[in-house]
């Protein structure tokens, strides 16, 4: 029992990171109708800024350095939308994907130009573990993980409330539903897409900072795995809604943790490298039976 809970608590940070990246990817997918492959490297760009401002040269605390990184990623993302996607409005869907792929090459080469060939790291938000007594003794929950959960719930909660109830949320939903018609109804779709790109960049930087604070040293591609999870989460939850992908994004690391636990329980611990394969296989089976995703709606196709 303790072991199961520990396995689940170990997946807290991956859950938060995946949820945030999934939200970012869903926002861009819905307003700009492209899968943003550059999300991972834009996030890493922000994390590099955070680590620079926390490092020996500047030495700020993480709570001041993190907003700087978030602003850097936001600016890059807005610049991408204003400079490239706004002009390439009539590029088809695959073309847009290729553009984001070209952006990977550019950002990946810009980062070493600014920060050099280092692999920096970020200190934890809060150090230490939560103390348990009695029946729960032996549980390991780091304060850092709980802080990450707090940040994620707060940020995503605010975004969902804004999307649902604010005027801005309405414009985003209208643009996501049909950009052209939204424009005719008097919505400034340029501003809407620019804001969603900025928001996606900010979410990415936050996610990257959280991941780096937990364990990873930062490298250019260190968010790529989570980006792939996010794409899978998007298709598993169905891009028709905003909440579907985020729920699936939380579920993927969770199921991964459960699979690792189950493999260990069955005495197959040497096969724990296969856990992600099993998760993907489960996802594929679900997609086979529900091609629109778990929360998707069937779309009638016009001829």
């Amino acid at each position: 029992m303790t072991y199961l809970l520990n396995t689940l608590f170990a997946t807290l940070v991956p859950m938060c990171v995946t949820a945030m990246v999934t939200m970012a990817i869903t926002l861009i997918f819905k307003t700009s109708s492209t899968t943003n492959f550059a999300q991972g490297v834009i996030s890493a760009f922000g994390a590099y800024f955070v680590s620079y401002f926390m490092g020996e040269k500047v030495g700020l605390s993480i709570w001041i350095a993190m907003p700087i990184g978030v602003i850097a990623s936001t600016l890059v993302a807005v610049l991408i939308d204003v400079g490239i996607f706004r002009r390439g409005r009539y590029v088809n869907a695959v073309g847009k994907q290729i553009i984001t792929m070209g952006l990977i090459s550019i950002i990946v080469s810009v980062i070493p130009m600014i920060f050099g060939m280092t692999q920096p790291s970020i200190n934890k938000f809060v150090s230490g573990n939560v103390q348990f007594k009695g029946a729960l003794e032996g549980l390991v929950v780091t304060n850092n993980a709980l802080t990450c959960v707090g940040i994620t719930v707060a940020v995503l909660g605010v975004i969902f409330i804004l999307l649902r109830f604010s005027k801005w949320g309405l414009t985003v939903r209208a643009t996501a539903s049909n950009e052209y018609v939204a424009g005719m109804m008097g919505i400034n779709t340029h501003v809407v897409t620019a804001i969603t790109w900025g928001l996606a960049g900010a979410l990415g930087a936050l996610a990257a900072t959280m991941l780096a604070s937990e364990n990873a040293s930062i490298s250019v591609y260190f968010m790529t795995n989570y980006q792939v999870y996010a794409f899978l989460a998007g298709i598993l939850g169905g891009f028709a809604t905003f909440y579907g992908p985020v729920i699936a994004g939380v579920a993927i690391p969770l199921i991964n943790g459960l699979v690792i636990w189950a493999l260990n329980m069955l005495g197959l611990s040497e096969y724990s490298g296969w856990s992600m394969v099993i998760v993907y296989a489960i996802a594929l089976i679900i997609i086979f039976f529900k091609p629109q995703g778990l929360f998707g709606k069937r779309i009638a196709k016009k001829v």
Binding site: T35, V94, M101, T224, N225, V228, G273, M276, I287
Partner: protein, 365 residues
Amino acid sequence: MDKLLTNKYGVKGAVQRADAKLTLALRKTVSNPLLHYLIFGVIMCVIGYIAKQNTGVIPYSWESGLARTFAYSIASVGFCLLMGYSGLASLGTGGFIGIGTYAMYYIMGVLDLPFALAVVVAIAIAALVGIIVGFISLRIEGIYLVILTLGLSEILRQIYVAVEDNISISRFRVFIETITTRSVTIYYVMVALIIVMIVTTNLINSPTGRAMLAMKNSTSAAQAMGISLIKYRLLAFVLCTVYAALSGVMYMVTTRSVMASDANGTYALITSLNILAAVIIGGYKSVWGAVFGTFIMYGLQTTLLQQVNFLADNPIIITFFSGILVIVVVMFFPGGVAQLLVELKGLIKKLIKKIREGRYGKDLG
């Protein structure tokens, strides 16, 4: 009929006609794309041979650089078929390349069996995987298929990491001859590439290719004409998978070792994206375009640009400009280099016409 004509115009006419026939046959042969492919292959083999002699005429590293580029080209040609002729896009290329490399590793590295068997096994497994994946994933289309194949490629990569992370083969025999590191490997790659190019060209010009093109332009219209969507989509997808596996086999022939867990390596997302970009840059409806685009993405760096000292010291700059190039091509030349050439041809024709008009006056006829 023949005799009659000979009588009417005399012997001279017959000779003229025979001449015309010969010229026609000659022109047909010269404009035959298959001949172009063969000539291209021979030229590349000669370049590889000269480079391997290490006399300094052509840098030594060109042989392996070109061989690797053309190994990737095989996957690009398959992708060109999938995207340009059936309108599907996939990001599974990196994972499917792994099928080829692992078939090579197990057949030749572990079991020490001949090369031909490895090729056959790689193709068979790839076809099987393609059919299974195709049945699952072709129910959805467009941008979703891209993401699904991306996930699939990631599954394959995880499987490779779990099975055997770092694979390498030291030597292997092709039928009788043993290939060592000093052999010219570009021969094998070029043979495979040319076979693939010829098969693809023939397929594109066959009824199957036309059915695929119809499907790409309008799925509903194609269905109304009695074209089975799933059949042709599956065919294109399976071919793409098989080509990618073959590309993996050839990649293994040239590089000899691959590491699966490398996040920026051969099976990773970046390879699939590079192949996609190569096909877009070259022009996604042209076999030549796919090969040329792959050269831009992979070959340019290992051959020409490495000779410039500044760029050899700062390889990051090449990455930077390749990114900009990709974006510029997608935004301003959606048909890629292949379409650019066609437009250029039209422009030159127009220019010649204008010069003629200036010289002789307007053609009134």
